[in-house]
C-alpha cells in the first residue's frame, strides 16, 4: 500500500495549526515555571490571577517606607536585620483590589503546584472572608535558606524573597505565624541610624 504525501497547502495548514496550538499551550499554562526566577514568576502569577500590577519601587525609595526595626522579633537583644545583606527581592502591590470572588483556593492550588518542585511549603494562613492569605516557602541556598513570603490582603500585596541564615530561620520558626510579617517588615525597612 502506498501512502500519498498530503498536498503542500495541507501540510502548511497543519504546521500553522501546530504552532498556534503550542503557542496557546504556553499562553494558557499556569504562569509559574520552576526556573531560576520563581520570585518574578510568582509576581506575574498574582498579576494574572487578580488583574493587578505591581509597583516599581527603586531600592532607595524604600528608605521612607517604614522606620521601625524588626530586630525585637528575634531573641537576643541587639538590633539586627533578619535577612542576609543584599539578599532582598521585593515587589509591592498597593491600593488595588484583590478579590477573586471566592476562587482564592484556586490561586493557592496553582501556587503550591507551581512551586512544588523547588520550594517547600512552610506556613500558609488563609481567611475565606476577606481573602487574606500568607504563604511562606523555603528552599536551600548553599549554607543558608531562601525564604519566599507572599502576603495578599484586600487592597495590597507583597512578595518578598530573602536569604536567611540557619540560625535566624530557626529563631523565626518558633513563631511561624509571625514569621511572614517579620520578614516583610524587614524587607521594607531601612536600618535605623
Amino acid at each position: 500500500m502506498r501512502l500519498d504525501a498530503p498536498p503542500a497547502t495541507s501540510r502548511k495548514k497543519t504546521n500553522i495549526a501546530a504552532v498556534v496550538a503550542i503557542a496557546l499551550m504556553f499562553a494558557l499554562a499556569p504562569s509559574v515555571q520552576a526556573d531560576g526566577d520563581d520570585f518574578g514568576s510568582v509576581v506575574k502569577m498574582i498579576e494574572h490571577f487578580y488583574h493587578v500590577k505591581h509597583d516599581g519601587i527603586p531600592f532607595l525609595a524604600r528608605a521612607g517606607m517604614k522606620a521601625a526595626t524588626t530586630a525585637a522579633r528575634l531573641k537576643g537583644g541587639t538590633a539586627k536585620r533578619i535577612a542576609e545583606a543584599g539578599s532582598i527581592k521585593l515587589a509591592i502591590f498597593q491600593d488595588q483590589e484583590f478579590n477573586s470572588a471566592g476562587r482564592f483556593t484556586k490561586f493557592r492550588t496553582s501556587l503550591n503546584s507551581a512551586l512544588a518542585q523547588s520550594w517547600m511549603p512552610f506556613v500558609q494562613t488563609l481567611s475565606a472572608k476577606d481573602e487574606e492569605q500568607t504563604y511562606i516557602f523555603l528552599r536551600n541556598a548553599g549554607d543558608n535558606f531562601h525564604v519566599l513570603v507572599i502576603t495578599i490582603e484586600q487592597r495590597e500585596a507583597t512578595v518578598v524573597q530573602v536569604t536567611l541564615s540557619p540560625k535566624n530561620l530557626a529563631l523565626l520558626m518558633q513563631d511561624p505565624n509571625g514569621m511572614g510579617r517579620a520578614i516583610t517588615e524587614d524587607a521594607t525597612t531601612t536600618d535605623p541610624e
Binding site: 517547600m120 494562613t125 481567611s127 475565606a128 523555603l138 520558626m173 511561624p176
Partner: protein, 190 residues
Amino acid sequence: MKPLSMRKSRLPLVALLLIFAATLTAKAQGAKIQLSNLDHLAARASQTVDVNIDERLVQIAAKVLSSEDSDEAKIKKIVNGLKGIYVKSFEFENTGEFTQADVESVRTQLRGPAWSKLVNVTSKKDGSVEVYLMMVGDQISGLAVLSVEDKELTVVNIVGPVDLEKLSRLEGQFGVPELGIEAPKPKTKN
C-alpha cells in the same frame, strides 16, 4: 551474560530486600498522617493555618541553636529528636461547616494497629480532644491530636519521640496551638 536461571533465582532475594526497605520506610514515616483531604475546608474557613516543619527543618533548629543561651537551649531540648511538626487548623464563623466525614478522614488513619488512643486525657478547650500515640516497640514514634469543636477543627501531628509533657511545652511554638491538654493524673493510694 549470566544464565537466565541464575537471574531468576535472585528474584526472591531482591523482592525480600525491597519489602524490607519498604517496611523500614513505612515505619519511619508511619507517624505522619495524611491531612491534605481537609484542604477543601479552607474555602469556607474564616481562618486556616497550615504549618509544615519537616525533619530537615527540625534538625536545623536542633543543630544551630545554642546550648548556652537559656532561651535557645530550651527550644533545642524540645525539638531534639523530633522528625516533623504538622498542624492544620480551621476556624469557621458558623456551625456545620465541616462534616463528620472530614473528621473521620483523619480518625480512620489513627485506627491503625500502631496507634493507640490515650484515655482520660482532658482539655480546657470546649469540644472533644482526642490524643493518639504511635508506638514502635516500646518507643513513641509519633503523636496526633484531633480537636473538634462546633466551629473549629484542629489536627496536630508530631513525628518522633514525643509525649504529653513535650507536647505541652510545644504549645504556642512552632505553630502548635494552645490545646490545653491535661494529662491523666496518677492514682494515689489512700
